[in-house]
Symmetry: C2
Amino acid sequence: MARIVKHPEQRKSELLTCAQELFFERGYENTTVNDVIEKAGVSKGAFYHYFESKEALLEALAERLAREGVERVADVLEDPALDALSRLNSFLAKFRRLRMESAPVMPGIRADLSGGTSAASPESAAKRRRGHRIAFGAVFQPENIVLYHRINAAVMSVMTPVLARIIAQGVEEGVFHNMDPVAVAEMLLHLGGATHAAVARAMQAQTEIEKDEAADALENLLRLHGAAIDRILGLREGSIRLAEPGYTRAVMAARTS
Amino acid sequence: MARIVKHPEQRKSELLTCAQELFFERGYENTTVNDVIEKAGVSKGAFYHYFESKEALLEALAERLAREGVERVADVLEDPALDALSRLNSFLAKFRRLRMESAPVMPGIRADLSGGTSAASPESAAKRRRGHRIAFGAVFQPENIVLYHRINAAVMSVMTPVLARIIAQGVEEGVFHNMDPVAVAEMLLHLGGATHAAVARAMQAQTEIEKDEAADALENLLRLHGAAIDRILGLREGSIRLAEPGYTRAVMAARTS
DNA sequence: CTATAATCAACCGACGGTCGGTCTATAGAA
DNA sequence: TTCTATAGACCGACCGTCGGTTGATTATAG
């Protein structure tokens, strides 16, 4: 076969992108290395030139997603005008959005970048992020625990210090009342896991009526989680707002199947 | 080979037990079906007579462990003398103990029931529970996310309603101040996930000094988690006691490697 | 400055070994 | 006999290896 040489970085990135799409569509276990190299238009040898194993590929993907995640919340961290509470609220909002966007499918958009050659085109981070939204929401399917938990672990480990800094700011400002920002950060992120479970449940909804109910339930739950965070941080009830009303429903409506 | 026929229930149980030991020692992925049937002294055919797939085996194991888990906390649920707070405290203590016991290895005990024939002897639940303590603590190794999360999911789904009932009692008694017991139960159990992560970290400790520090850190964290639960439930600080002082250290000391 | 050799990363794809799962046959219970 | 439990040879998918190739880059000679 014709030999195509590319910048190593780009190749690696393409492989990751193909893997990401396939993993999100079919799940990690149901995707073979051959699937990935076929989609990327690369040989076995090339693949194993870049990644030690299929596992390593997953790990690298998790890391990349985690990095992209922090990039997306970077602005709320850097804005010096924000007090701790608003910073935390913005952070949580962005974080939740991040979570949900890796789930739903925007129907119809899929056609314009599927196919084996998509990887050949130059890749912007923005384009890859589109890939997220297009994915089949497999992260929420039960068969994909591995995929989800790997990504989640990576995201948590980069997000913990970030969140901890915000909390530390709050403690310094005297608005948050707790010790050990890092531990509290971990707890809040683990609570995010509870949210994930709830989102997964909501995603199971089939009929319109079920979806409506699920969306309501989810928003209620988010309010409750918000209240829990209020209490953990020693804030007035209602300080943390996890649920912008209607957002949940909007996201769910955009989802296919 | 000689054909040995047993009560289906017992066979199934033996297969589960062998699988449990192997999974805990080597992890799910690193255990082959052949390993399991060899240890159990059974043919491939027999195995696939009882379980549709390797996956199904894992699922069944997770279910059994979850069932055994509720059995072990059943008494604190049924004791009518307990008020909600003491019940919750006992529940959390037992639950935490459950978590930790599936991790450490009691050195030296291992010899007396290892080997391929152990499965042939009659099995009491008590003996199987010993198996827990004997396991290599692989549940805390990073390569065993699958194993851990499957078990955890099963345990959570049976524990949620149980915990919810306790919380509901507390709300009725007017000592807990929050709504939706089920959602709160889920949150508390997810917090348990944070504990797990911390335990996993503590388990990494190698030298005696490191272990000591890790034990201290872990107890601090448990106190913090306790405080968080206090706040979520609207209790006086110190009502929930997750860390019996010294217990953490004792458990860690009992662990090999 | 050009030509050529040497080097090395990037890439190819056939092949091997492992392992989950299937299938046919049969022993024993009812 | 019939049905369930058991045996174990066999199949095929799939991860990873390995020996080899290509082409860009750099060193060296002319």
